[in-house]
C-alpha cells in the first residue's frame, strides 16, 4: 500500500500500446491529458471532457473507456490501447479500413474514438453481450444479430457532430461481418 499521507503527484508508469511510458503526474491529470499533453499521443481526441461525447475513447485492459474521466494515476498497471495501437505497421485494423472504405466520418475529429469504440463493440457482441435494444436478454436466447439498430445503440456513447452516423453504422457492420467470416474460416 502507498504511504498513508501521499503527496499530490506520483511517479507512474503507463503501459500504452505495448510500450512503457514513465512520467511524474499531478494526480489531477486525466489519462486523456497525459496521452495528449505529456506523451505526444495526440490521436486520442478531447471533445467534451466530461464523459458525454466519446471522442476520447481508448481501450483499458481490452475494454472501451472514456479517457477524460480516467485519472492517469489510476490507470497505472492497466493495458492501455489507443488509436495509435490499432494498426499493425502499415496494415490498418479492419475497423479502420472499413471507416476509410465507407466514409465513416466527415471532419474526422470523433473518428479515433468511434474506431476504438467500434473495435470493442464487435468484441462485446462476439462475446454474446446483449444491449438495451436486445429483445430477449436471457442467455439461452443467444446473441442478437448485429443489426443497424443494435449498432446504433451500442455506439450511442460516441457522438459525431458532422452527422456521419449512416456511414459509421455501415462501417461497423462491414467490419463485424469481416471479423465473423475470419473467425468462421479459422474454426473450419
Amino acid at each position: 500500500m502507498a504511504p498513508a499521507r501521499s503527496s499530490t503527484h506520483s511517479a507512474i508508469t503507463l503501459n500504452i500500446n505495448g510500450e512503457k511510458y514513465t512520467l511524474t503526474a499531478d494526480h489531477r491529470t486525466t489519462l486523456l491529458d497525459a496521452l495528449r499533453e505529456r506523451l505526444d499521443l495526440t490521436g486520442t481526441k478531447k471533445g467534451c471532457d466530461q464523459g458525454q461525447c466519446g471522442a476520447c475513447t481508448v481501450l483499458l485492459d481490452g475494454r472501451r473507456a472514456v479517457s477524460c474521466l480516467q485519472l492517469a494515476v489510476a490507470a497505472e498497471g492497466r493495458e492501455i490501447t489507443t488509436i495509435e495501437g490499432m494498426a499493425e505497421g502499415d496494415r490498418l485494423h479492419p475497423v479502420q479500413q472499413a471507416f476509410l472504405d465507407l466514409d465513416g466520418y466527415q471532419c474526422g475529429y470523433c473518428t479515433p474514438g468511434q474506431i476504438c469504440s467500434a473495435v470493442a463493440v464487435i468484441e462485446e457482441h462476439a462475446a454474446g453481450w446483449p444491449s438495451a435494444v436486445t429483445d430477449d436478454v436471457h442467455p439461452e436466447a443467444g446473441p442478437p444479430p448485429l443489426t443497424a439498430e443494435e449498432i446504433r445503440e451500442r455506439m450511442s456513447g460516441n457522438l459525431c457532430r458532422c452527422g456521419a452516423y449512416v456511414s459509421i453504422v455501415e462501417a461497423v457492420a462491414r467490419a463485424a461481418a469481416a471479423e465473423t467470416a475470419r473467425t468462421t474460416e479459422e474454426a473450419a
Binding site: M1, A2, D26, H27, G51, T57, L60, W129, H138
Partner: protein, 330 residues
Amino acid sequence: MKEFGYQRVHDVSGAVAVLGADPDARFLGGGTNLVDLMKTGVERPARLVDVRELPLDRIEPTRDGGLSVGATVTNSDLAVHPEVRRRYPALTQAVLAGASGQLRNMATVGGNLLQRTRCGYFADVTKPCNKRVPGSGCPAVEGEHHNHAILGVSEHCVATHPSDMAVALTAFDAVVSYETADGPGELPLADFYLPVGDTPHLETALPAGALITGVTLPPAPVAARSRYRKVRERASYAFAIGSIAAALDVRDGLVREVRLAFGAVASRPWRARTAEGVLTGAPADTVTFAAAADAELAAAKPLPHNAYKVTLMRNLVVAVLTELAEETAR
C-alpha cells in the same frame, strides 16, 4: 480541480482504515461521476482511495438461491452475467439502459448506488443548492424542473436519483453490505436512501466512512419474468424522465405476486408498494393496472413543468404490466 492525494488499497480493512482517519478522503471506483464532479468543483476531496483493485469483483450464487454481487463489479459485468440475465432480466435491462458502453465498463456497482443527482443546479457551483450547500435554497422549485421529482418531494429539494440499476435492485429487495472501521453492516436498499425532508444533503443511511462491499439479491422466482422500461428524451445515452422495473406472476387471471419500482420520479428509487397492494390478488387486467398506478400516484406532488410525469408513469405501469401479463398467458 483541487489538488489531492491518491492511494490504492488492496484489502477492505485497509480501505476503511484510511477513510476512518481522514474525513476529507473519498473512495474512487470507476470515477465516472466523482471525477466529473471534481472537475466542476462540486466534489473537493483531499485524497482519493482507489478501491478498484479490492477483491470485491465477483458475482456468486448465494446458498438460498440468490446472487451476491461485489461492489467493484463493473456495470457491464453485472449486466451480461448469465445468472443475472436468467434470474433478474430487468436488472440486466436496467443497467444496459444506463449511460454508454464506455461508462458501463468503468462504473462499479457500489459507485452506481452512490452517484449524485444530475440536477443542473446541483452541478453548477455558481447556483444555490440545498443538497450541495445546505440552507442555500433550491432554485429548481421555481426554475428548471421538467425532469425533477414528483414523489416524496420536499420544498427543500426536488432532485431525482439518476440510477437505472438501483430501480431494478429496489424492485428485487436487494440488500447493501458495507464495512466500517467498527465492523460490517447491512442495509436493505429500501432503507439505504434517506427521505429528503429538510436534509437533502444527507443522501444515504451509510455510516460515515463506510465502504460498500456488495449487494445481495434474495431469491425471487417472480423476477425471472421481469422487465425494465425507460423513457427518455432521446433514444439512447440519456437519463430517464421516467422508468419502471416490474415483475409479475399471474395465476388463473389473478395477480399472484408483483414487484414494481419507479425511477426518475423521486430522490431515490421508488418502490410502488401501494400499487403492489392494490394489484396483489386482483384481476390481471388493464383496469386494475390503471387503478394500481392511480393509487400510487395519488401521493404525487408535481410542479408546473413536471406534471406530465404523473401521466407518463401511469401509462408505463399499464403498458409494462400488460406486456408481462400477456407473456404469462402464453
